[in-house]
Symmetry: C2
Subunit: 136 residues, 2 copies
């Protein structure tokens, strides 16, 4: 697994350091989105010495390399390991769990609207928020 992580980091144009492996491993273990500060706290608590600055930089770098999705909530950003193909999200607002979705209907809507209004699409976003079965 460390090998896989190294590969992923390599692909992102990053050196495989102990800290980055640690961050990636922590991300693999969760299906919700984490804040840089929270992640830093957890790693520290788990006895993994990683600097806050490094956590920020690693998360940002991985997000730039499209390994992570970024969610903005209450003025801070949370990161989550996400599939590499285009997708949308279904987020539980209670437990924070995130499920990835395909949405052909949305893709079609985007094309239709853009075409009709003469826009050149550069991106779009479509996410659903709710409470999952376990939490309600």
């Amino acid at each position: 697994m460390a090998v896989q992580a190294d590969h992923a980091l390599r692909d992102a144009g990053l050196r495989a350091t102990r800290q980055r492996r640690t961050v990636l491993a922590a991300l693999r273990d969760r299906s919700d989105a984490v804040t840089a500060q929270d992640l830093h706290g957890e790693l520290r608590a788990a006895g993994e010495p990683v600097g806050l600055t490094t956590v920020y930089r690693t998360l940002t770098a991985l997000a730039d390399a499209d390994f992570l999705d970024v969610f903005v909530r209450e003025g801070e950003q949370a990161f989550r390991l996400c599939g590499d193909q285009h997708h949308h999200h279904l987020v539980c607002e209670v437990c924070g769990k995130v499920e990835e979705l395909e949405a052909d209907q949305v893709e079609q809507w985007v094309r239709e609207v853009a075409g009709r209004r003469g826009y050149q699409v550069t991106g779009h976003r479509a996410d659903i928020f709710g409470v999952c079965g376990e939490c309600s």
Copy 2:
């Protein structure tokens, strides 16, 4: 028009003050989203004495009352006067113009996905980003 503004403020449970009328008027004059700081700067430049704190408070209050939509970009939030019924957005990334959209297909997608996965929906978001005809 000052009367209309007063009505809107009343509806939001806010007193109609000179500063709030000024902020509302400034929002009516633009179809893009503004930052609290930018708006504050513009009002100052236009000779309208309004405190930064007040601009923040007014924008937040109006957004809480669903008079404004909030966009988050680059770590800061921008506000825009928006229609009062549910809608989505088509945003030009060059000139900042925002168009409001209906999206039956999206509404249906939301219901379908939530139903199939056993979620109780609390909200959703769907916006398209691109370059408008004039800007390309």
